[in-house]
C-alpha cells in the first residue's frame, strides 16, 4: 500500500469493515442464461410436478372424486369426446372464431398503430377515444352485440375483435415511438420520402414488436371466445364446458381446460417460430 503524506486515515478501521466475497452460483445467477440441460430439466419439472400433485391428491381420496377427477378419468373423458366427434368439432368452432376475430383486429391494428405512432396528428385524433373505449370491458358489449348481430358467429367474432384491437393498436403505437429518431433522419438524408420511411424503415423496425403484441393479445382472444360460447353457442370449447357443468362432468371440464391451455400454447409457439424465422436480427 502506498503511504500518502498528510493523508488523514479513514474514520473506519479497515478491519471493522466486512469485505464479503460472494461465491459464484449457477442456479441463482440473475439475468444470466443457465446451461441447457438444467433448463430442460426444470422445464420438464414445471409440467411433471403439478401433474403428480394432481394425481397424488386424487388418488389419496381426500377430495371427493366428483370434484377432482383422476388423470385417468380425464384421459378417458378425452377419448370419449373424441370418439363421439365433439372434440374436433369444438376445436374447429373455437379456433375459427378466434382466428377470424383476431385476424380482423390484426389487419386493422397494424396500420392504425403505425399511423398513430408515426404521426402526432393521427395520435391526437385517436388516442383519447381509444384510451376510453379500451377500458370498457369487452364482455360488457355482449348484450349489444347480440341485439345488433343476433346469436350466430358474427357477435362472437365481433367480441374478439373489440377485445383485441385496442390493445394491439396501442402496443404497436408504443413500439413506433421507440424507432430511433436518427434512423429516420439517416433515411431522409439518403433521399427517402416520408412514405418510403414509413413503409421501409418504421414498419420493418416494429415487426418484432407487432408479433409480440399478437402473442400477448392472443390470450385475450381465447378468454373472450370462451366467454362468448358460455353465453350463446351450440358448439365450441367454452360451450362444451358449460354443458359439462350441467351434467356435473368435472372430468370433461378438466379435459377441455387442458385442451384450451395446449391450443393457446401451440399458437404462442407458432408466433414465436414466426418471429425467429422472419426477424433473425431481433432474436439472439
Amino acid at each position: 500500500m502506498i503511504e500518502l503524506e498528510g493523508f488523514s486515515p479513514p474514520l473506519l478501521q479497515r478491519e471493522t469493515i466486512n469485505h464479503k466475497v460472494w461465491k459464484p452460483r449457477t442456479f441463482w445467477r440473475m439475468g444470466e442464461p443457465i446451461p441447457g440441460h438444467l433448463s430442460l430439466g426444470l422445464r420438464i419439472l414445471s409440467i411433471v410436478v403439478p401433474f403428480c400433485l394432481w394425481w397424488a391428491l386424487s388418488a389419496s381420496g381426500v377430495v371427493n372424486p366428483k370434484f377432482l377427477p383422476s388423470p385417468v378419468e380425464v384421459a378417458q373423458a378425452f377419448g370419449r369426446l373424441w370418439a363421439e366427434g365433439y372434440l374436433l368439432e369444438d376445436v374447429r368452432a373455437s379456433v375459427t372464431r378466434v382466428g377470424l376475430g383476431f385476424l380482423l383486429a390484426a389487419v386493422l391494428s397494424v396500420p392504425l398503430g403505425i399511423g398513430m405512432g408515426a404521426f402526432a396528428t393521427v395520435r391526437s385524433l385517436l388516442e383519447p377515444i381509444m384510451g376510453i373505449v379500451r377500458y370498457m370491458p369487452a364482455p360488457a358489449f355482449i348484450p349489444l352485440l347480440i341485439i345488433y348481430l343476433g346469436l350466430d358467429e358474427a357477435p362472437k367474432i365481433a367480441l374478439i375483435f373489440i377485445g383485441v384491437i385496442f390493445f394491439n393498436t396501442l402496443m404497436i403505437m408504443d413500439a413506433v415511438k421507440f424507432v430511433p429518431k436518427h434512423l429516420l433522419e439517416a433515411t431522409y438524408t439518403l433521399g427517402g420520402s416520408r412514405r418510403q420511411t414509413l413503409m421501409q424503415v418504421i414498419t420493418p423496425f416494429v415487426v418484432p414488436n407487432i408479433l409480440d403484441a399478437f402473442r400477448i393479445n392472443m390470450a385475450s382472444a381465447w378468454n373472450l371466445v370462451v366467454v362468448a360460447e358460455l353465453i350463446a353457442a351450440t358448439e365450441g370449447l367454452g360451450k362444451r364446458i358449460a354443458i359439462a357443468q350441467k351434467f356435473f362432468r368435472t372430468d370433461e371440464i378438466f379435459a377441455y381446460l387442458i385442451l384450451l391451455g395446449v391450443i393457446g400454447f401451440l399458437f404462442d409457439l407458432l408466433l414465436r417460430w414466426v418471429l425467429r424465422a422472419t426477424c433473425k436480427w431481433a432474436v439472439d
Binding site: P180, E185, T187, Y188, T189, L190, G191, C279, W281, A282
Partner: protein, 261 residues
C-alpha cells in the same frame, strides 16, 4: 461543389425560454476540401450540421449548395451520425444499397455500386453479416459506405468517431483521410477532438459556445498526404495548441459573460 453558409441564426424556444444555438455563423466548403468544425459540447455544432443536412430549418440566414438553397434533406448531402444508424434488419450489403434503392436504382446497378463501396471500406467479407455482428468502427465504415454509395456532393459527419476507443479512432481517421484522397469527396466534419481536427482538415473553424458562432478560421498547412508521422510534426503540435488556446479563451469569455450577465 460549393457549400456556402451565411449569416446563419438558429433559435430554439424551450420551456425555459429562447436558446440561441447559432448566431451570425458564416462558413464555406470548396470542392474537394476536408473541413472540420471544432467546439465545446453545446456550442451548436450538431445544430449547424443538421441545418446543412436540411433536417431542420434556420431561423434566419441561408445555406446553399452550388447556389441552390437547401430546403430539406437530400442524397446530395450524405450524413454520418455519431450513433451507428444502420438498419438492424438489413445485411451490411443491403444497408449500403438502401439509399440507392430509395432513389429507384435497379437491383443490379445498386448491388454493383454497393459492392464497390464495401470493398473501398474494406468490408466485403462482411457483406452478408447483420450490423449487430460488427464492431463500432466497422459499423461506422458501413455508414460511411452507405452515404458514399449515393455519390453525394458533400459528406457531413457529426462526431463520427466520438464513441470509439482511441486506437480504433486513429485507425478510422487514417482510413477517412485515405478515402477522402481516393474519392475526392468534399467533407464537412464536426468534432470536439482537437487532434482529430488538425490531423484531418485543410481548414478548421473554431466555434464559441452560447451563442454558437465562428471564432476563428485556421488553415492547416500540413499537406494532403498525412500519416502517423504527421502527428509527431512540431507544426502539428503548434496547430493543436493554437486551436486549444482559442477554445479555452472562448470558454473563459463565456464564463466572464455569465458572471457579468
Amino acid at each position: 461543389m460549393h457549400l456556402e453558409v451565411s449569416e446563419l441564426n438558429k433559435h430554439f424556444s424551450t420551456a425555459k425560454g429562447k436558446v440561441i444555438a447559432l448566431k451570425d455563423l458564416n462558413l464555406y466548403v470548396e470542392q474537394g476540401e476536408f473541413v472540420c468544425v471544432v467546439g465545446a459540447s453545446g456550442s451548436g455544432k450538431s445544430t449547424l450540421l443538421r441545418l446543412v443536412a436540411g433536417l431542420d430549418q434556420p431561423t434566419t440566414g441561408t445555406i446553399t449548395v452550388d447556389q441552390q438553397s437547401v430546403i430539406g434533406p437530400g442524397a446530395d448531402r450524405g450524413m454520418v451520425f455519431q450513433d451507428y444508424t444502420l438498419y438492424p434488419w438489413l445485411t451490411v450489403q443491403k444497408n449500403v444499397e438502401f439509399g440507392l434503392k430509395l432513389q429507384g436504382v435497379s437491383a443490379k446497378a445498386r448491388r454493383e455500386q454497393a459492392s464497390y463501396y464495401l470493398d473501398m471500406v474494406g468490408l466485403s467479407a462482411f457483406a452478408q453479416s447483420l450490423p449487430k455482428q460488427l464492431s463500432g468502427g466497422m459499423k461506422q465504415r458501413v455508414a460511411i459506405a452507405r452515404a458514399l454509395a449515393s455519390q453525394p456532393k458533400i459528406l457531413l459527419m457529426d462526431e463520427p468517431f466520438g464513441a470509439l476507443d482511441i486506437q480504433t479512432k486513429e485507425t478510422m481517421q487514417q482510413f477517412t483521410l485515405d478515402l477522402w484522397a481516393r474519392t475526392g469527396t468534399s467533407i464537412l466534419m464536426i468534432t470536439h477532438d482537437v487532434r482529430e481536427a488538425v490531423f484531418l482538415s485543410q481548414r478548421i473553424y473554431v466555434m464559441t459556445a452560447r451563442p454558437g458562432t465562428v471564432r476563428a478560421e485556421i488553415e492547416v498547412a500540413l499537406g494532403t498526404a498525412r500519416t502517423a508521422a504527421t502527428r509527431e510534426d512540431p507544426r502539428f503540435k503548434a496547430y493543436q495548441d493554437q486551436v486549444i488556446d482559442l477554445l479555452t479563451h472562448s470558454a473563459d469569455q463565456a464564463v466572464d459573460q455569465a458572471l457579468i450577465g
